[in-house]
Amino acid sequence: MRIEVAGENALIVYFGEETDPRISAQVQHAVAETERLLGSAIIDLVPSYASLLVIYDPFQTDHLEVRRQLRSIAESGAAESTHEGNLITLPVWYDTESGPDLEALAQRAQMSIDEVINLHANTEYRVYAIGFAPGFAYLGQVDERIAAPRLSTPRQSVPRGSVAIADRQTAIYPAASPGGWNLIGRCPTRMFNPDADPSMPVQVGDRVSFEPISRERYLELGGEL
């Protein structure tokens, strides 16, 4: 565990250097404890793969106090990193129609399309971070055999709900946006809806699994073509 200065009213705690569910569990523990102990003095928290950025109100506290609290939280967290998170199952219509990169990805992996789908759907993922755009959740880790680099030319527009792979991460595009990840399917569940409460079905630290569905079921669940 290491604490660094981030800015005039921000400290960042590092719990490790790699993508690892145990490190992520420590980050989640620290989020809950920081909120509990520092309460209204916190302006915002940004949990990520192996770090937690803590932005505090300098008119209510200072870096000396926040650093002291974070050190004690991190030390207590190392012992009890049991945070499991909720398990959320998301339906995915995997197909060459919904996933224009599925065929190329299968060729690259030297396996059939069904094998790629099986490997992607039969893994339990963890939400390591949310960022890039509202509701964009980074899920890891994708099976090494179907990991694939980003496209050399990103698409101008990726449809909302697209399920995609980049390296050993997978994600669902929460809104139509430009994007360079490999598209393998579509999920009918809205990943970010400003009018809903909560606005996202998952949060950092949760676990996610995918359930393959048919085109018909995708449409029944409100999926768009």
């Binding site: 960042i12 940004v46 949990p47 793969y49 509202p134 949060q203």
Partner: protein, 313 residues
């Protein structure tokens, strides 16, 4: 509801309050005024709530028509202000009547100005804030900058109060004193030599300067690492991509990122940078978190001690 009608939106005019806080965890950035001090003064000179919704005008070119009788004030960058065709003082509250035009011309210094009305504009908040973030399509009217024909609702305030801020308290948008850097984040990945390059060189604000970040051009600084596991980015963080040209991240930044960062600017200097136009030369000087903390507390005291002068009608 009546208020102000947008006749010309200018280059980029955004509806905003102080910003969207507490939602980084779902990937929402803060948005909000690039120059919070000028924003605060705009509301204070009208006795508004300190989080009341105003307009942030970038560069200028805004023309509005009042549909109500109220007070207005323009603070920030030096955009010539006209009401009913007459040039009037900035940093000073003025009465405006239904049917009169308000024009904010193009800035002579300072890229951002703040236009407040008595009681603030009445905008429905999203995620606790009215701040427009175009990239996220949140806040303001439909998450977009102002368009011709938009109606900006606000109440009629024929009574109200207004103040003016004497010249000696107004900021100097031509100030080019060095920007103060609090070293942090991956600072250990930058050698002493690389840090000295940053602190002794001159950089220029490039054309790629927007509300997400200001890209600077000058001598390259190279960290010993290329990338890091994505982590949270605070306001003013100085990111150094592979080309070695620093980027100062501003209000609409992405909340996480994987480029090495050498530290962050002190917030009054982040605001000063965001007031600069492409081509402006900047330099950097080191500053500590201790100094920054003390300076912030003192600045707030100075702000509270200043007594603006009441404007009589």
């Amino acid at each position: 509801m009546n208020g102000f009608k947008v006749l010309q939106p200018g280059l980029m005019t955004l509806i905003t309050d102080r910003g969207r806080f507490g939602h980084h965890r779902i990937g929402l950035t803060t948005g909000g005024p690039l120059d919070p001090s000028a924003f605060d003064w705009a509301n204070r000179l009208l006795d508004n709530d300190n989080n009341a919704t105003v307009l942030e005008i970038s560069i200028g070119g805004l023309v509005l028509e009042a549909q109500v009788d109220t007070w207005v004030v323009l603070t920030g960058g030096e955009m010539p202000l006209k009401i009913a065709g007459n040039e009037v003082e900035r940093w000073c509250a003025h009465r405006i009547r239904a049917g009169e035009r308000l024009e904010a011309g193009f800035s002579k210094a300072g890229a951002r100005a703040y236009l407040a009305v008595s009681g603030g504009f009445q905008i429905e908040p999203m995620f606790d804030s009215t701040a427009t973030v175009q990239r996220e399509k949140l806040g303001g009217l439909n998450g977009q900058k102002l368009q011709s024909g938009d109606i900006l609702p606000c109440s009629s305030e024929p009574q109200g109060a207004g103040y003016r801020l004497p010249k000696q308290y107004q900021p100097d948008y031509r100030d080019t004193s060095p920007l103060r850097v609090i070293l942090g984040y991956q600072q250990d990945a930058f050698s002493e030599v690389q840090k000295q390059i940053l602190f002794t060189s001159s950089y220029k604000v490039s054309d790629r300067a927007d509300r997400m970040g200001y890209r600077l051009e000058g001598p390259a600084i190279s960290p010993s690492i290329n990338g890091i596991l994505s982590e949270g980015i605070c306001l003013g963080a100085i990111q150094v991509p592979a080309d070695g040209q620093p980027i100062v991240l501003l209000n609409d930044r992405q909340t996480i990122g994987g480029y090495p960062k050498i530290g962050s600017l002190f917030s009054p200097d982040t605001a000063r940078l965001a007031q600069m136009l492409p081509g402006t030369e900047v330099s950097f000087t080191p500053f500590t978190q201790d100094e920054a903390h003390n300076q912030l507390l003192l600045s707030r005291r100075y702000y509270q001690m200043i007594n603006p002068i009441a404007v009589s009608v």
